[in-house]
Amino acid sequence: MRALCWAGVNELAVQDVPDPAILNRQDVIVRVTASSTCGSDLHLLDGYVPTMMAGDVIGHEFLGEVVEVGPDVRDRRVGEKVVVCSIIGCGRCRNCRAEMWSLCDNSNPDPGFLETLNGHATAGIFGYSHAMGGFAGSHAEYIRVPYGDVNAFPVPEGVADANAVFASDAVPTGWMGADIAGIEPGDVVAVWGCGGVGQMAVRAAYLMGAERVIAIDRFPERLKMAADHVGAEPLDYEKVDVLDALKETTGGRGPDVCIEAVGMEGHGTGAQYAYDRVKQAVRLQTDRGLPLRQAIHACRKGGTVSVLGVYLGFVDKFPMGAVMNKGLTLRSGQQHGQRYIAMILDRMARGEIDASHLLTHPMSLDDGPRGYEMFKNKEDGCVRAVFTP
């Protein structure tokens, strides 16, 4: 079959690879019908995740049709249209049973790297390096899905593919950012990053009762999209001082909840941003932290900072003094998608959540390298390129 493979830093290639097979009794094989680029893939491309190897199939946000099931699969059926959670859970360990699926004990068979780096290993992720299990990704014609019963969700009638595909990652990740922040009716929420995850965090925050949601970015088309499609109040950090603007617009309090949906390659302005770029480039820090620092500084006293952006290791100049002295609550995690996906698909079917506007560039899998180039450089207003194998 054809698949999009990582071939080196900033190098992708469509290659012929063997078809996947049922390797475990609870596996299902899915014929991929849509597979999206994701901002977190850019960290792989840019060489910041050290356990990638040339030949790895990437991609983790996808939709497809079940074409084969293992002998111990009980609920999934051949022919079902399913959306698959990008993060793999086993469904049986203590963390999965507690609905903290991205902390699964069993779905990352190669936990050593993360144990050394972080103290413990977290769940396996499709197409996201050998540190995350080394699972082949979804930018391919077919994909093996372990523990198929708990990781693949039937798509209800009437939900368009362009909407459902984002129930795999962008929507549940955004939802989780708002959920773990404990948003209450009347809250003012600020979201850093107007990519797919940030926009879906805005939508979730409103659905949870937020009074106002301010979205921060530098790309006019993304700010406009966040305003037009999910009702955000746009804030361009290249035009105004974010900290001043947030204080002013919240009567000096600061946002009740700050959601960071940017991650380790965040952009910014001024000397702090230049400092971060240099330190990351010479590997004196693995992750750039400007938006995260801003979120912590901006957050009201006693507020909550919810971190959705992907970080690998270490952020320099982390403002622990602000966290401690302002009594902030810091929440984070890779998405516990299995907790939310069925609910999100139901809301999509009822018209309460529509993520289809994120799909700005439908492309064939053969155009994968070009799609990532456009996505990375935000060419032609690209928010998400989605590949059809």
Binding site: Q15, P18, L23, N24, G55, C90, R94, P111, R144
Partner: protein, 135 residues
């Protein structure tokens, strides 16, 4: 000239040995790795003791000291193995997977694109290292 060079080399060598001794001395002060490798399994302690214990656990217990105790708050069973080297750590992780999910995840045989010669050579070693973990 030769004598001067010899003295310089001897001084370097002496300095190197002293540095090595200091480094060893410091290393000796560092605590060593724990002697037990432990996991918590989401099961009742009774499943890991007595005649019904899994064969893989019985085999581990033949060669290693094994400690089984209930986790606090009824949160499963703590399983610890003494003197666990890389192979044993891999076996213990596999045992936890088997007990909790009914099978051990297989990764070999997945689709993959063109590996470099170096990649082909190092992947099995890297995977084994990551599977076992460094201690």
């Amino acid at each position: 000239m030769v004598a001067k060079r010899s003295i310089a080399l001897a001084a370097l060598a002496a300095g190197g040995v002293a540095a090595l001794r200091r480094a060893r001395g410091r290393a000796a002060l560092r605590p060593g790795p724990a002697e037990w490798f432990a996991v918590t399994v989401a099961c009742d302690p009774a499943e890991l003791t007595g005649v019904n214990r899994p064969d893989a656990l019985a085999e581990l217990a033949e060669h290693h000291e094994v400690r089984i105790s209930p986790a606090p708050g009824g949160r499963g069973t703590e399983l610890a193995v003494h003197s666990a080297d890389g192979t044993v750590r891999e076996q213990v992780r596999a045992l936890k997977q088997l007990l909790e999910t009914g099978e051990v995840l297989r990764m070999e045989g997945q689709p993959e694109g063109h590996r470099t010669v170096l990649g082909r050579a190092t992947l099995p070693v890297a995977r084994q290292l990551m599977r076992r973990g460094v201690r």
